[in-house]
Symmetry: none
Subunit: 83 residues, 2 copies
């Protein structure tokens, strides 16, 4: 399943790929969305969520897509000892 194509097919440019650093405000919003039950935001919701987060910083579609992926996966596996 490939929800969104983030790389536009084949890679060609050696994109620098700076790592997105979510601020606490953004994390708070994302956590709120996640805890509201929307663990897999539908495609139509993405622009809406992005606009909401862009008040604090520029975020791409892939950024929070990955965020939700990791959030769900890691909360399920309960890999952390504490937290």
């Amino acid at each position: 399943m490939q929800p969104i194509s983030f790389r536009g097919g084949e890679e060609r440019t050696p994109d620098p790929k700076p790592r997105w650093n979510p601020r606490p405000e953004q994390i708070r919003i994302l956590e709120a969305i996640f805890n509201s039950g929307m663990v897999n935001p539908p495609r139509e919701e993405i622009p809406r969520i992005r606009m909401r987060l862009q008040e604090y910083d520029q975020v791409g579609d892939a950024n929070f897509f990955y965020w939700f992926q990791n959030r769900k996966s890691r909360s399920k596996n309960k890999l952390r000892t504490g937290h």
Copy 2:
């Protein structure tokens, strides 16, 4: 009194977690497992490995996960400019 250090003016998750201190016996066992070819033990093996190492100290699943992750990753690069 919480000496949470700042990161260039941006606060990070104020999470005071004690870090696991592997003992020589544990490291010896882990290295043995690693050198036996099991560089990335499957999730199912981790509890087994943990039980084996718990003879020496309490360890969580995440500890091994991180250990193997770091061990594998850093065995390739002989460490960059330490941080």
